[in-house]
């Protein structure tokens, strides 16, 4: 992964968050949540700063970041697309919906499109099983999605006529 030089104020943001949690190693996960919420993702350089601030090893921070699927080391797309692959959605055809998204966007799960517009991910049960299969774009939930609707959903965002831009974190 190419080295990114962090801007001074980014480093300050991270330091402030660490102070907020008393530089306590036990608060590592909370720190990571907050930093990811603020910066959008957790690249290696950010992890180095956190490790220094919490007086722990980069290996430990990396170990934790990579253990939990909620944390990501790559930036998400402007419109993160998540397909629910919970059981209820699966038995109602989520897999076909997923493969149609992959085909249309030409990306695999966990990747972003070249223009940075879309990223594709799976998640497990968003609690709207009544609407299965469910797709989320940012915070917006699309229910009872069929493979034939996929194109239209993407177009809605690609052309920028989405009702509101989805949040990235």
């Amino acid at each position: 992964m190419p080295k990114i030089k962090l801007a001074e104020n980014t480093i300050q943001i991270i330091k402030d968050i660490c102070s907020e949690f008393n530089h306590s190693e036990g608060e590592l996960i909370n720190v990571l949540h907050k930093v990811q919420h603020t910066l959008g993702y957790l690249p290696a350089e950010v992890q180095e700063v956190i490790a220094r601030e919490l007086k722990t090893s980069v290996a430990k921070v990396y170990g934790v970041v990579t253990f939990y699927s909620f944390f990501t080391m790559v930036p998400k797309g402007e419109f993160p697309i998540s397909i629910c692959m919970g059981t209820a959605c699966y038995v109602r055809g989520a897999e076909q919906v997923l493969s149609e998204f992959k085909r249309q966007l030409k990306v695999e799960v966990g990747e972003s499109t070249g223009d940075g517009k879309f990223s594709l991910n799976c998640l497990r049960c968003v609690g709207a099983c009544g609407l299965a299969p469910v797709v989320m774009v940012g915070e917006k939930v699309f229910g009872r999605v069929s493979p034939t609707q996929v194109k239209q959903i993407i177009a809605e965002y690609r052309e920028g006529c989405a009702t509101e831009p989805a949040k990235s974190a």
Binding site: F70, G86, T87, Y90, Q96, R124, G127, L131
Partner: protein, 597 residues
Amino acid sequence: MTDYKIHLLICGGTGCKSSESDEIKKSLKYWIDEANLKEEAQVVLTGCFGFCEKGPIVKVLPDNTFYVEVKPSDAEEIVKEHLLKGRPVQRLLYKDPHTNQQISDSKGMDFYKKQMRIALRNCGFINPESIHEYISRDGYMALGKCLTELTPEETIKEVKDSGLRGRGGGGFPTGLKWEITRNSEADQKYVVCNADEGDPGAFMDRSILEGDPHSVIEAMAICGYCIGADKGLVYIRAEYPLAIERLTTALRHAREYGLLGNDILGTGFNFEIDIRLGAGAFVCGEETALIHSMEGLRGEPTFKPPFPSVAGYLGKPTNVNNVETFANIPVIINKGAAWFSEIGTEKSKGTKVFALAGKINNVGLIEVPMGTTLREVIYDIGGGIKDGKEFKSVQTGGPSGGCLTKDFLDTPIDYDNLLAAGSMMGSGGMIVMDEDDCMVSIAKFYLEFTLEESCGKCSPCRIGNKRLHEILEKITKGYGEEKDIERLKLLSNVIKDTSLCGLGQSSPNPVLSTIANFEDEYLAHVQEQRCPSGQCKALLKYEIIEDLCTGCTLCFRNCPVGAITGERRQPHYIDQSLCIKCGACYEKCKFNAIKLS
């Protein structure tokens, strides 16, 4: 509830929120203002009503009118007709599918008739963001009773006598766990609420936290009093923003009312609760992993004993209970152990909440007394199988559970019966499958989940499950052989016997139970390279029957990859090398001219 004469309760559960319940709230407010009813009618966003299938739901009190599938544009009519003229909007009422009669009170609906709500008692009845409403339904009365009338020992005895068992999956007797933690000597102890809810396809715990957060707070304080802890932690999935928000609000209100903090109700008892966020790892639902995660570490399980009750969070005795387990506690204290233990079966007392989903008419959140049969749940409450298809299987226990056949439909649901049937209670996911579901694929689906979620600490689980998955992959691709079934069984049993934690120990269950109950499907795959339900795409072929094709071009226009060719009014043709087997043509053809083979 206070001065308002009319209350409009709108479901703010995740399902309904996804279908614009916020918009509905806004519209209703707008029309209420327009009609000058601001002083009389109040609009409240509640937790899930349970009947998610028919959401968004709006309930009007005091007359108990239950509107289903409401749209923001219906708000005007509800206000003008119902609130102003007293004429309920007929077209928004639930229609009984058998009698075709409209039912306006939820009590009359089949979906609610056989339910009994203890853990979900307040969900859909109160505004979860109002502590007043919780208190007005006997909220915090149990805490008051324990602190002022009962000793910790007496309280524990009450919980023990009730027969309550853990709702997080294991079914360990709750009172006994509290007693063990109480008897562990230490300067500091902790109460932990497990709100990780990892079962993919389940949403019970989040619904309780979204709909009735105070019941969990109250119960945790009672638990703290019993075991001698002054600190509680709720470990909750970061993917549940609404539940986190509601819980945070509830904690703030409880502190403001002196129901948390120092010297609660003037009794000298101190208790505080903090929230810890999970970060998307199923294994963190396992209690030792959960504790490590709260300590800021990778959520890897460790060997038990020592149990958390003896050495848990930061090495101190820690009582871990599930959200639903806690939600039962205040009722048990208020109504008494004798009342609670009347409900249910001999060894499983009380009720259980299930997230009923899959190929069923009434998807939703239900709560039934233990001992209710699967048939009652699926047919009476669930309204039967979707689209008139044939029932095939019901899966309970999530990735640790099993798939049961129609032979088990009359089994009364309780911990022991489900276990004996080769599945388990689990935390309450209940997925119904129909004739179109391939059981080999289902087993593979669960294993994919396990593979992703295995923490990798021990080899049987990390490597063994991978091998299981490879064999299943081979079978669904049409390369399986008969010996593979034996291999699956052997490997499964090794993984079960040798894995470190509950995840590995139960991960082969979906494989073993599908082999036991649906061996013929496995055999069809390996002997004839045939998938009886047509789910395994590699074994499928879509073909157009020339004689039946009218050349309407519908399939041609719907094929996403352009695999279909043909002239208008001429028989069409599918190019097998291009077809991705999406099934779109098959579904669209109105002349049954496309066959699956």
